[in-house]
Structures are given as C-alpha cells and as structure tokens.
Symmetry: C2
Subunit: 139 residues, 2 copies
Amino acid sequence: MEERDIKRAGLKITQPRVKILDLLSNSQEHHLSAEDIYKLLLGNGEEIGLATVYRVLTQFEAAGLVNRHHFEGGQAVFELATEEHHDHMVCMKTGRVVEFYDEIIEQRQQELARLHNFRIKDHSLILYGEFIGESDENA
Amino acid sequence: MEERDIKRAGLKITQPRVKILDLLSNSQEHHLSAEDIYKLLLGNGEEIGLATVYRVLTQFEAAGLVNRHHFEGGQAVFELATEEHHDHMVCMKTGRVVEFYDEIIEQRQQELARLHNFRIKDHSLILYGEFIGESDENA
DNA sequence: GATTAACATGATAAAGTATATCATTTCATT
DNA sequence: AATGAAATGATATACTTTATCATGTTAATC
Ligand SMILES: [Zn+2]
Ligand SMILES: [Zn+2]
Ligand SMILES: [Zn+2]
Ligand SMILES: [Zn+2]
C-alpha cells in the first residue's frame, strides 16, 4: 500500500493518510486499533488528531484498503487489506494474534449458506484461547 | 431456565432477574440486546432500570446462564445458554438471525488450533449476508 | 509559482454503549 | 416481624466512535 492506492481510492494524498498507511505497512503487529495508531504516531513525533485517525481508517475501509475486525475488548482493530482473506486466533493472555486460512472451513461456510438460502457477504471467525507454553510477559 | 437456575448460580431470586429470564425464554427472537430487553420489559409494564438489565445479564453470563455475542452494530446480544453450542448467520437487511452447527467446522478449528499450539477457550463464527428472496419489510 | 476552490484536518462536542456509585429497597433467614 | 445481606435503579462516569466546523492543506488552473 502506498500513495498510489490513496489516490486510486479518490482521496487526496495527505500527510495523515500517508503516515497511517506507512504505520500499518511497517508495524510489527499489524492489527492495530485507532488509538494504537494515534499513540504510535504521536510517539514518533508526528502531529495528528484522533478524529483524523478514525476518519481516515473508515475511509480506507470503505475503499478496501484496510479491513476492520471486532476482536473482544472494546476497540476495533485494523489491518491492511493486502493479504488474502484469513481468520484469527487471539491469545487471551498476551493479545497475540495469529492468522490462519482453512479452505475446508471456507467451503463449509458456503455449503451451510446454500442450505439456508443465505448469500454470504462477509464473515468473522475468531478463536479465543491461549498459545500453549507461552507466558504473558509482553502482554 | 427458571428460578431454580438463578439460585443455583448463587444469586437471589429477584423480580428483575426472573423477568429477564422469562423474556429470554419466551421471546420469539431470542437474541436480544440489553436495551431490547429493557424496552420490552418497560413495554410490558414492568418497572426495571437499564443498569439492572446490564448488571443481571453480566451476572447470568458469568454463571453460564446466558451467552453474549458481538454481532456487528454496536450492541452485544444475549441468548439463553440452554441450547447446545451453535454459530450464527445474520441478515444484514432484516437483522434476522439463523443458528447453525457444523461438526466439520468445529473439528477443523480444533485441528488448526493444534497445528498452532493453541488451546481454544471460545470462538465466534458469524456469517453476514442476506437470505435469498427475502424482503426487509419487518427489519 | 501564485490563485483558488474543493477537500481534509483537528479540537471539541456529542452520541452511543456499558459500568461504577450509592442511597434506598427487597430478599431470605431468624 | 425483625434484621442483615444483597439487589435495585437513578445517575454519574468511563470508554469508543462519530459529528461539527473553523482553519489549514492539496491539487488543479492560470
Ligand atoms: Zn474465513
Ligand atoms: Zn489479520
Ligand atoms: Zn462453533
Ligand atoms: Zn444463537
């Protein structure tokens, strides 16, 4: 994701938009809440408003540049939409997020939808638990 | 679910608790938000406070009497925990909720967890879309 | 490069969902 | 019925997100 993509979305290339896209592209943990992004940017010495972060993320989502997920814990998290579709395992101790994709599950969803005369537009599969043998020291 | 279950949970049998349990037991749509419950009870002429509804639902959840789900749309919804585990399809037009259970998906989740050294404590699978050939007249 | 109109930002207000507080009421035991 | 413990409900507060709007920025045009 780069400036090209912002323009392609019909949005002006502004500092806040570029900064947010850069952060999502380069951050180690790439599932970030709006507030995470806001604080990380402030920590980097950038000037940005929280309202702008929320607004831009919503615009990016509408443009298909980012995906929004509702993990438990109040705040939605965002990630770049560069990767293929995947679902998530979330560690309840450390907050660590691992992505996975399983063709069998995806196909069964379609099959179940068909059985119920349902057309799937989107879905959310989140496994909550913990990684075995992992401490929560860096939670 | 009945008064017996409230007592079993170590809670006093009070009017608000009984009313909420009755509503969840007898309501046509049994996935209700705290505010749904509050307004339905008020509509029935019952006197109850919104804070009590939230408090009681949280207690019921902790006691395993109800399950909480985070469908999209801000408010969490609750349902009695009498049924076996199931997942949900949610119509984005009408709000209609259909429950399903698929052994293959459940087993694949376990398998994927094993592959990632993950112990599943809980999971959430929600399919969003629409039921084919259904209008949104009573959305 | 300057002009300019449209667009974007950010401080703040406001909305929406849920929890905390606490004086009063209800429950359940004696 | 008396009584202490627990629960209620009005309200305040917390928390996440969106709306408002004066000001600042972008990008197209000259
Ligand atoms: Zn999936
Ligand atoms: Zn992801
Ligand atoms: Zn399931
Ligand atoms: Zn259900």
